[in-house]
Amino acid sequence: MNEGLTYFLQQVINGLSCGAIYSMIAIGYSMVYGVLGLINFAHGDLYVFGTFIAYSLIIVLSGMVNPWLLAIVAGCLAGCVGMVIERLAYRPIRKANRMVPMISAFGCAAVLKTISQAVWGPEAISFESLSFLPEGSFMLGNLQVYNRALFIPAVSLAVVIIMQYILNHTKFGLGTRCIMQDSATSNLIGVPSDTIIPLIYFLGGFLGVMGGVLYCSYYGYISIDMGMLGTIKAWAVVMLGGKGSFWGAFFGGLVIGVAEAMAGAYIGTAYRDAVGYIIIVVVLMFRPTGMFGHKKVEKV
């Protein structure tokens, strides 16, 4: 293999693992966004908050418990926080104009961010020493493949398959799909939306923390500024993939990840983010429902 090709493939692999992290965060976002149509600006700060909890748990119980178990505990806590936020800040205004819960979400994001800042401080904290990702690498011809570059997409793929199963084959999933189609009618026919919607927020927060743990381990640090960035990226990925589709969120994340890696390698890191956004704009212009979205016909 020549050198240019090796470099190219290396970037593709980097992009895939980075993209798989985006999709993890975006799947949690997609739950809430696809079902309720709420642009949940608190998602980013919620997952950062949960990841901070995971960090503290691991530091306190150093070496005694498997870090992934602690991450799951932290994910559950963050999911509960998500449920509380839903009850206090979103449910009373669910029927108002969409702008209203969105601003309320901004408020919650600010509160969560302040709590994280007060507890863990404004500086970035190193996440290196926490062994979430498998070490080591192997050679594939000239190509060095890190184990973690296989691990992250595998986790992400597994989560998509599980979520897809839950959505299509359980009673909870059936209710979720009902609310997604028409929340007013599903209330009429007896779908318990006040039970299902908090659970959706729980899952959103939980998956967000799982993605956050991967994200912070991959980049080796955690900071409170990740919140808003993560929200926008997750939103963009969901839009690119198609609203309410887990496969859409998965492939949308991969596309953005690879595009950013390519831009970073061949154009320059300065324009990395911009290239991702340009791709989103171009795709949306030609396919307004996203890659996997269903066209919704508006009836009068």
Partner: protein, 341 residues
């Protein structure tokens, strides 16, 4: 409409006019009473942000599009005005006009892909545009000065009068704010304004009675970004040095919050929202660490108890907030009591 309601209508119109004039009078005499430069500066910033909020209000509050990257137009106006004055040697008024026109042209171009898409996509596309704008502003060093931005923007000179003191800046921004208000108020109460509100409340309905929704959306976007551009250039003249960090996403969301808190679909609401978010954070400045969080709590409470904002249009209220719900519950309880008797 019978005579009585007509009278009531014109009376409420007059009341509003009187209220506007009283507030304007207070704004004019404020610098004569308040000698504290810090407070005057706060008001000056409020007026600049009011103009941006007017633009955002036209796009979001009156047309119902979601524009989350609105600060990009503000930034473009800011850079255009600063560079026109510094590099091209334009006069103050000409640079402000130039900045407005540049921002309006960009707004026009951005509005074109937005026409095909639903509300959320418009929000995402404007957010993406903001990020692209920031990447260009940070990296095109020869034009924008990179992360350091543009410095040493000359002080505005109008008809030979050099504006440098706090008070003169106060009056300059006040004049621009009042002019923008009058202009936009006229647009909103014209047939175009009603068309825009028709699109916001029910796009299909508006189209079916002959409103060209595409044309009106482009109109709203272009005029909105024109005002954002003007405000941006005023800001650059006011602080005389700008850099990309003045135009990040957080500022954009803050503009949105100002509009929502003041009340969507209300121009005076934009001024109140801008004043609120400029003045109130200064009141609890000593709690620096908890500042953002306190702002967040205020935001959530405001949305819970008055979802349409302080002066907002009912179109945004839904089944209203807690306050109305409590009122309704009380009425039901009274009815029950009466029935029991």
């Amino acid at each position: 409409m019978n005579m009585k309601t007509l009278n009531k209508f014109s009376l409420s119109r007059n009341k509003a006019l009187v209220a506007y004039l009283i507030v304007l009078l207070l704004m004019i005499i404020a610098p004569l009473v308040i000698k504290d430069a810090f407070i005057l500066r706060l008001f000056t910033t409020t007026y600049i942000f009011s103009i941006v909020c007017f633009g955002n209000m036209l796009v979001v509050g009156y047309t119902g599009m979601l524009c989350l990257g609105f600060v990009a137009f503000y930034g473009i106006g800011s850079y255009a005005g600063a560079l026109a004055a510094k590099e091209l040697g334009f006069g103050f008024l000409l640079s402000v006009l130039f900045a407005g026109i540049v921002a309006a042209i960009v707004g026009f171009v951005i509005s074109l892909p937005c026409l095909r898409l639903s509300v959320d996509f418009v929000g995402l596309i404007t957010t993406s545009f903001l990020n692209i704008f920031l990447a260009i502003a940070r990296n095109w060093r020869s034009l924008t000065g990179g992360p350091n931005g543009v410095t040493g923007i000359p002080r505005p000179v109008i008809f030979g009068y050099r504006i440098a003191s706090v008070t003169s800046f106060y009056y300059l921004m006040l004049i621009f704010m009042v002019l923008s208000f009058i202009l936009l108020n006229n647009i909103i109460h014209s047939k175009y304004g009603r068309m825009l509100q028709g699109i916001r409340d029910n796009e299909l309905g508006a189209v079916s009675v002959g409103v060209d929704s595409r044309k009106m959306k482009i109109f709203a976007f272009t005029v909105g970004s024109l005002f954002a551009g003007i405000a941006g250039s005023l800001y650059s003249f006011y602080i005389s040095a700008i850099n990309p960090d003045n135009f990040i996403f957080n500022i954009s969301t803050q503009i949105m919050q100002m509009c929502v808190l003041g009340g969507m679909g209300s121009l005076p609401g934009a001024v109140i929202g801008a004043a609120f978010f400029t003045v109130v954070p200064e009141l609890y400045r000593s709690l620096a660490l908890y500042r953002i969080g306190l702002g967040g709590i205020i935001m959530v409470l405001c949305m819970l108890f008055r979802p349409q904002g302080l002066l907002g249009s009912r179109a945004f209220a839904g089944d209203k907030g807690f306050a109305d719900r409590i009122k309704r519950a009380r009425v039901v309880a009274q009815q029950k009591k009466a029935a029991a008797k």
